[in-house]
Structure formats: structure tokens, C-alpha cells
């Protein structure tokens, strides 16, 4: 493992988003029920990227709620590709703190759109439909 891997920072998903994250993993209506915070984080981050949401800044607070140890190598690769594309510079991956920071901003933007969307989903729509709709939407959005 390289020095950079060892130094990969813990992630802050934000005091402002805490309730939303917790709600998503413990509520039966949520497609993330029984999953983990870091999975929601990565999902929100990717969602914000794909939807080209405007970044509203870093999440609030300094609590590093996601321990870097839970992030597998493939997950870190995903975070790095996002940072490379964002900064249009591959050298960003030498600075894991910078990678983490930009991912936190994307996840912050993502949760703020995703959570109300999930919460307000009509109850007659089965939870799995959410992913199908989202996938369609992204394909249309990027055409």
C-alpha cells in the first residue's frame, strides 16, 4: 500500500445531512435500507456528477463520519476519477485530501436533491422503480 493510500482521509458527509443519511439507511421505504452511510455517500456523489448539479460548497461540520478504512480500492478509484474530471488534471490524485474534499462537495449537492426525491416518492411506487427511473433520466439527460 502506498503512503497516499495510508493517508486517505476520513470523509465528512455533513452535520447538515446527518439525519437524511441515517434516515436512508434505516427506513424501509428507502432503497438504501440496510445499507451503509458510505454507500449512500458514493451514490449521492455520483448522482450529483451525472446530473451536473451545481456545487453549493462543502458539507457543514468537521465530523469525519466515514472512516477511510471502509472505502475499498475500487471505491477510491471512483472518487479519483471524479476529481480528475473535475480539475481536468490527473495530478490531483496525488493529494487525497483534495480528492476527498471535492467528493464531499458533490455528495453534499447529491443528497440535497436525492433525499427529498426519495422521501416524496408516492408510496404505491415500489422502491426498486427509483433506480430504473434514475438510470433512464441520466441517459436522457446526457443525450
Amino acid at each position: 500500500m502506498s503512503e497516499e493510500e495510508i493517508r486517505f482521509p476520513d470523509l465528512n458527509y455533513g452535520e447538515n445531512n446527518k439525519k437524511q443519511y441515517e434516515d436512508l439507511i434505516i427506513s424501509e421505504w428507502s432503497p438504501f435500507f440496510n445499507h451503509t452511510i458510505w454507500e449512500v455517500f458514493i451514490f449521492c456523489m455520483s448522482y450529483a456528477f451525472a446530473k451536473k448539479l451545481s456545487l453549493t460548497g462543502s458539507p457543514t461540520g468537521t465530523t469525519k463520519g466515514i472512516n477511510a478504512k471502509v472505502l475499498s480500492q475500487p471505491t477510491r478509484y471512483l472518487m479519483r476519477t471524479l476529481a480528475i474530471q473535475h480539475y481536468q488534471d490527473i495530478k490531483v490524485i496525488k493529494d487525497s485530501t483534495k480528492v476527498a474534499k471535492i467528493c464531499e462537495q458533490y455528495a453534499n449537492a447529491g443528497i440535497q436533491e436525492l433525499y427529498p426525491r426519495l422521501l416524496n416518492k408516492p408510496s404505491e411506487v415500489p422502491p426498486e422503480q427509483f433506480f430504473i427511473d434514475l438510470q433512464k433520466e441520466i441517459i436522457e439527460h446526457n443525450i
Partner: protein
């Protein structure tokens, strides 16, 4: 626990139907298999009982002893009243280089028998009694003080056996062959038949045989140490400790004095023989465990009610009985398949949709990596090796002299210095080397075949979920239709049964809901407790008085983390190895092997066998296939863990015939090489050629034993003498050896 154990001999002295002294000597591990042949009721199961009794003072097949007292009847009859009767079982074991002699002796005083009349006064039967757990003729008494259990040991160069002073015989026995694993080396038909019901057997196999459970127990102890924070005397810290403790008490169903906490709600169909408590625990995991057990009882009861439809005497109901029962099983299976498919669906989307969403960024990054590679900038490691080689060689590719020339401790060769400078400046790019691995990862996972990626990650799980859901709906609808038909039969009895059945089904739903609610609450508590603990840690670190405790806690936490990581990595590794080895062995024994695609052991130790269309097959395996899969799993565990214990298989082929039987005979010697395998079988199972007739008629019509002998040595013993109700064990040569 040692890794190579073999039974050298078994000596029975007046144990149940075995009269006088009967001895079986077993060949060396690499001298083939042993088959002990006996007719049904001849004493095969009591041989298993004898081994279990000698090792653990237990007789798991006691119900099969068919009226035989624990001490041989003929022998007891021959003694005068007041005499002391001896019964013993002695087993010699080889454990690596050491020999163990394990013997258990029962002494009984014979007193005058009593008889009871049956029917007419001229017919009478010996009255039996339960004397301290042993079935003996009425009037006989066990002499506890003279009954013994002894383990003697003989090390490699020793001539005779000596007592092992290290520990008690029970402790030593548990070290050599733990009782918890006995069902893994003494395999009876029932154990194998129900092998795939529940997860306990798989968990036991993986956790205990590989000794993973020791790590798990340690993690449990460390957890206890972390819980043990005393009152500090600081209100804010103590308040948090109290909140954490409340959550822990909820989880373990404890009251404020840390005693087990029960509700006033009685258990469903409470059975004092099986259920340790009459009432449910109040909260947490113990309550979940009880509710899950009771849900099984509810399912069984609903099935029994369905059966009663048929015995109600109404012709129409009788006709509907089977239909209802079968449909109910189908519905339950499809319902659990739907749940599993739903789980797989969400996991697949949550894991893979981020890749799909980030595809443009991934492609962009890989293009940069490819450009850098094309220009030779990556990987840095290759450039470093190249420049170091030049420096070692002392010559550049342009023939410039790069030899070192140190004057006054300083390098003076300017060309060498220039190369060193280039090499060191490149070190700044070292961090980019990982991007090459990143490129390969994404190409393999997604970009190499994007269509395959979307099909596997999204389309297939979605299709499987829809199919499972439709199937479940179809069976539910059908079940309702049959119920309505039953109600329309018009009998008051039937209506009552249907009502009762509906009540049970509703109860199952409610119970499931209750389990989900408690699980939800436990999850919330876990999140809260984590917060409380972090807050407490911060406060304790600021407080001089509690700093030391915080420091200790920190250490326990770190140690726990290390143990948990090791445990989960080892578990994952062993699980995957056993999984692939099981499939490998299983396919060797299967006739239609193309229909099986994957055997999966999940992290919670539940298992699945999939066909080519990713449909679950475990529930629909034939008895033979299920037995083969169980044997393959056991064999895989032995192979992966290297723990070799004797394998005693009772009635292995009772429900297997034809082609599968032939394939088993060919595969067994291959996947259990140099193992001690002892079969207890009936003569029809092992010696009868008619059980091997195949549909296509192409395979040899030979008895199973003879087929086995084609690839491994066999030694036979025959249990005989049952016409006189006394069993004797004699060496035996089957008839096909006549001309050999």
C-alpha cells in the same frame, strides 16, 4: 485440535446387542475404506451410539436401539442376582504420532427382574427402567462410583499407554475431537438429509473446523472489556455511559440490574422440552431469536391445519388437501426467493450504478492515463528501474560515462549527477502509478464490455426480481382461490380450520413485522450509541481523572478493530475456498453437471445453488443430489482446513440409486484420498448389483462395493448373529472376490 485423526480399533464389551467382546481393527489411512455391513436393525446405529457413548457419554440414536438394554441381555441373564455386570466401549485413536486409548466402563448391580403382563396372564414382558439415563431391566442399579471414563496416551517411542496428567479425560477428549463437531465426523442419514436446512451446519463447519470461532469469542470478550467503563463522577460523562448502557440492555434484553428481562407474553406453542423459557424476552436480539424460532413453528402449524382439511371427512376437502399443501409450500418458497432477489437487486444497483453514473469521468481519466503511458511517463516505477540500471552500469545509452567519481565524499561526475537529478525529480510522479491499476480495474469491470456490465449488474437482477415477484403473486393468488373453494365446501369444521389457518398466516406476518421493527430499533440504537461513545471519548480525553480509562478504552478499541479485520478477512478467504472446492467436488459426482452453475456460501452462512438461468435449485434437489452436495461440502472443509478426522457414514446410499450411485463410487476415492472413511451400510446398499442398473444400460452393473474396489482398497466387516438377537462383528469377503 490436531489435524490427522484415525480410529485404530473399536472394542465393544456387552454393549446393547453386541455380546461378549467384539473388536474391529481398522486399516491405515492410506489402506482404503472400510464397510461394516449389517441388515436393518442389526446394530449399525448402535455402533454409532457406542462411539458417541464412549467419547461423550451420549447416544444420539437411542430411539433405534429396539428394546436392547444398555448392557447385553444375554450376558445379564447369565449373571446371578446381586452380581456386578460390566459393560465397556474402548476406542483406540491415532492422533498424529500419539496413540490414545479411550475407554468408558459402566458397572451395574443385577437384581431380580420384574415382568409385566401383556394381554392374557400367560404372556409377560420384562419390565424396563431408566436408571440414571440408561435403559436397564427393572431392579438393576448403576454403580456410579465404579463406572469410569479414562483416556490413556502412548507417545511415539513409548511401549505402553499411560494416563495423561495434563487435564481431565473430558477436556482431553474435547481437544482431540470436540463434541460440537461430532455430527461432522459421524454422519448419519438424517444429518445429511437435512444438511441444507438452516445455516447452523454450514456455520459450524466453517467456523469450528477452521477454528475461526476462537477469534470470534475473543472479539466478544474484547467487547465486554469495552463495555466495562465505571462511573467517573462527572455528570456529563456518566450520563453518556448510562445512555450507552440502556441501549446495550435493550439489545441483550437485560433489566437495570443486568438480569435477563422477560415480557409477560407467552411463547407461541410453548414446549418445555425445546423452549428454555415460557415467556418471550422483553427486547433485542434474544427476542428476535425467539420470534424467528416461533415463526418456524407457525409455518409448521399452518401446514398441519392444511393436512387436517383432508381428515375432516368431506370428500371435496380431501381433494383440495394436497393442492393446498403443495401450493402453500410453493408460495413460501417463492416468497423467500422474492425477498432474496430484492436484496440482490438493491445491492447490485447500489454497487454498480455509481460506475454507470461516473462513466464519462472514468473514460476521461483513462484517456489521460493512456496518453501518459504512450509518452512513457507512466509508470514511474519503470523509469526509476531504468535510470537506476544506467547508474549501476556506469554508462548511458548515449555512451556517456556515468561511473561514480567521489572526491572528498562528493560525487564529481557531472553526467552521473544529471541522471540522479532526473531520477529524483521523477519521484514526484510516483503517486500517479496507481492510476495504471485504476485503468485496468475499470477496463475489466466495465469498459471492456459495457453491454455485459449493464446486463449483469442491472438487467439480470431486475429480470430475476420481476420473475420472482410474479411467481410469488401467482402462488399467493392460487392459495387464496383454494381457500375460498374450501370455505365454499360448506362445512362448519372446514370453515373453522380455514379461519384458524388465516389467523396463523396473519400471525406470521405480524411476527415478521415485529422482527423488522426490533431490527430497525437496534440499528437506530447502534447509530446513537456510536455517537454517545465518540462524545464520551472526547470528554474523557479532556478530563484528567478519566484520561487513563479513555486511553485503555482506546487500546481495546484498536485491538478489537484488528481482530475484527483479521476475522472478517479469514472468514471471507475460507468461505470462498470452501465454496469453490465444494462446487468442484460436487460437479465430479453429478451426472447432469451442465445444469449447475454456481454454489454460493454467503457471509451469513446461508447457501445457494444456482442453475444456468440463475434460478435457485437448492430446494428442488433430489435426495441423492442433496446428499452429494453435503458430502462435497464436508470434503471441501476437510481439504481447505487440513483438519482430517475419521468419517463414519451411516446408510449413505439409502436414497440413491442408478447413475448417481455409480458416479459416487467413482468420485469418492478421488475426493477423499488417504482419508479414513467407514461406511455403515445394508447389504442391498453395498453388495447388491441390482441397485446399479442404469437407464441407458451402458454403465457397469456391479455392486457399489465392487465399483469402489475399482479405484480403492476395501475392507469389510459383517454384523451377524441377529437370528439369536446377539450381534457379532466378523471380517468379511464379498462374493465378487471369489475369482480374484
Amino acid at each position: 485440535m490436531s489435524s490427522k485423526i484415525k480410529i485404530s480399533s473399536i472394542r465393544l464389551e456387552n454393549y446393547r446387542q453386541y455380546y461378549d467382546i467384539q473388536t474391529i481393527e481398522f486399516p491405515d489411512r492410506d489402506d482404503g475404506f472400510v464397510a461394516i455391513i449389517g441388515e436393518n436393525g442389526g446394530g449399525k446405529s448402535n455402533l454409532l451410539n457406542a462411539i458417541n457413548w464412549c467419547f461423550y457419554k451420549k447416544e444420539p440414536h437411542k430411539n433405534k436401539n429396539q428394546g436392547y438394554a444398555i448392557i447385553n441381555n444375554k450376558y445379564l441373564d447369565s449373571l446371578k442376582n446381586g452380581s456386578i455386570a460390566n459393560m465397556s466401549v474402548q476406542i483406540d485413536l491415532q492422533n498424529g504420532d500419539d496413540q490414545y486409548r479411550i475407554s468408558r466402563v459402566l458397572k451395574v448391580i443385577k437384581n431380580e427382574y420384574e415382568y409385566e403382563n401383556i394381554g392374557s396372564s400367560s404372556n409377560s414382558k420384562l419390565k424396563m427402567t431408566d436408571a440414571q439415563g440408561y435403559d436397564l431391566p427393572w431392579g438393576c442399579e448403576v454403580i456410579d462410583s465404579k463406572s469410569t471414563f479414562e483416556i490413556l496416551k502412548r507417545e511415539k517411542k513409548q511401549q505402553s499407554f499411560h494416563p495423561d496428567p495434563r487435564a481431565s479425560p473430558d477436556v482431553i477428549m474435547n481437544e482431540i475431537l470436540p463434541q460440537s463437531l461430532s455430527s461432522y465426523f459421524i454422519l448419519d442419514g438424517e444429518f445429511l438429509e437435512k444438511f441444507w436446512e438452516g445455516i447452523q451446519k454450514v456455520e459450524l463447519g466453517v467456523e469450528r473446523i477452521s477454528q475461526l470461532h476462537l477469534l470470534n469469542t475473543t472479539i466478544g470478550h474484547l467487547g465486554q472489556l469495552q463495555k466495562g467503563i465505571p462511573k467517573i463522577g462527572k455528570q456529563d460523562i456518566d450520563k453518556l455511559t448510562q445512555l450507552i448502557s440502556i441501549n446495550e440492555h435493550f439489545e441483550d434484553s437485560l433489566d437495570e440490574n443486568a438480569n435477563e428481562n422477560f415480557s409477560k407474553r407467552p411463547r407461541f406453542d410453548y414446549d418445555p422440552q425445546v423452549d428454555p423459557y415460557e415467556f418471550y424476552h422483553a427486547t433485542g436480539k434474544p427476542l428476535i431469536q425467539e420470534l424467528e424460532l416461533d415463526m418456524k413453528k407457525m409455518y409448521e402449524k399452518s401446514q398441519k391445519i392444511a393436512e387436517q382439511f383432508g381428515s375432516s371427512g368431506i370428500q371435496a376437502a380431501k381433494l383440495l388437501q394436497n393442492e393446498f399443501k403443495e401450493e402453500e409450500i410453493r408460495y413460501r418458497e417463492s416468497s423467500s426467493a422474492e425477498k432474496e432477489a430484492e436484496k440482490q437487486y438493491f445491492s447490485s444497483y447500489i454497487d454498480n450504478l455509481p460506475l454507470f453514473l461516473l462513466k464519462p469521468a472514468i473514460e476521461y481519466s483513462i484517456k489521460i492515463v493512456d496518453d501518459l503511458r504512450a509518452k512513457g511517463y507512466l509508470p514511474y516505477e519503470a523509469k526509476k528501474i531504468f535510470t537506476n540500471d544506467l547508474l549501476d552500469l556506469g554508462k548511458c545509452i548515449c555512451q556517456n560515462d556515468l561511473q561514480s567519481n567521489i572526491v572528498g565524499g562528493q560525487e564529481t561526475n557531472s553526467a552521473r549527477l544529471a541522471v540522479i537529478k532526473v531520477r529524483d525529480s521523477m519521484a514526484l510522479d510516483q503517486g500517479l502509478d496507481g492510476s495504471v491499476k485504476m485503468k485496468y480495474h475499470f477496463e475489466e469491470k466495465m469498459l471492456g464490455d459495457f453491454e455485459k456490465f449493464t446486463t449483469n449488474c442491472f438487467d439480470n437482477p431486475r429480470r430475476v426480481l420481476y420473475e420472482a415477484r410474479n411467481k410469488s403473486l401467482k402462488h399467493n393468488k392460487k392459495l387464496k382461490e383454494i381457500k375460498t373453494k374450501l370455505e365454499n365446501v360448506g362445512s362448519a369444521d372446514i370453515a373453522k380450520l380455514v379461519e384458524e389457518h388465516t389467523y396463523i398466516i396473519d400471525l406470521i406476518k405480524e411476527t415478521q413485522k415485529e422482527i423488522d421493527d426490533i431490527t430497525h430499533k437496534l440499528k437506530q440504537n447502534e447509530i446513537k450509541s456510536k455517537e454517545y461513545k465518540n462524545e464520551r471519548k472526547n470528554l474523557m480525553n479532556k478530563d484528567n481523572k478519566s484520561k487513563k480509562i479513555a486511553f485503555q478504552q482506546n487500546i481495546w478499541e484498536r485491538i478489537t478493530e484488528i481482530f475484527e479485520k483479521t476475522y472478517s478477512e479469514l472468514k471471507e478467504e475460507i468461505r470462498k475456498q470452501v465454496q469453490s472446492k465444494t462446487m468442484e467436488i460436487f460437479l465430479k459426482t453429478m451426472y447432469k453437471k451442465d445444469q449447475f452453475k454456481d454454489f454460493i456460501i454467503k457471509s451469513d452462512y446461508s447457501v445457494e445453488l444456482f442453475d444456468n438461468e440463475n434460478k435457485s435449485m437448492l430446494g428442488s434437489l433430489s435426495a441423492g443430489e442433496s446428499l452429494f452436495l453435503a458430502l462435497s461440502f464436508i470434503s471441501a472443509i476437510r481439504d481447505v482446513t487440513g483438519y482430517k478426522f475419521p468419517l463414519i457414514i451411516d446408510t449413505p446410499l439409502g436414497r440413491v440409486s442408478g447413475q448417481p450411485r455409480y458416479l459416487l463410487s467413482q468420485a469418492l476415492p478421488d475426493y477423499l484420498p488417504n482419508e479414513q472413511v467407514i461406511f455403515l451400510a445394508t447389504d442391498t446398499e453395498f453388495l447388491d448389483p441390482n441397485r446399479n442398473i442404469h437407464e441407458n444400460g451402458k454403465l457397469p452393473e456391479k455392486p457399489f462395493g465392487e465399483l469402489l474396489e475399482g479405484s480403492i482398497k476395501m475392507q469389510y466387516y459383517l454384523i451377524s448373529g441377529m437370528q439369536d438377537k446377539i450381534a457379532k462383528i466378523l471380517p468379511y469377503n464379498p462374493r465378487w472376490r471369489k475369482n480374484k
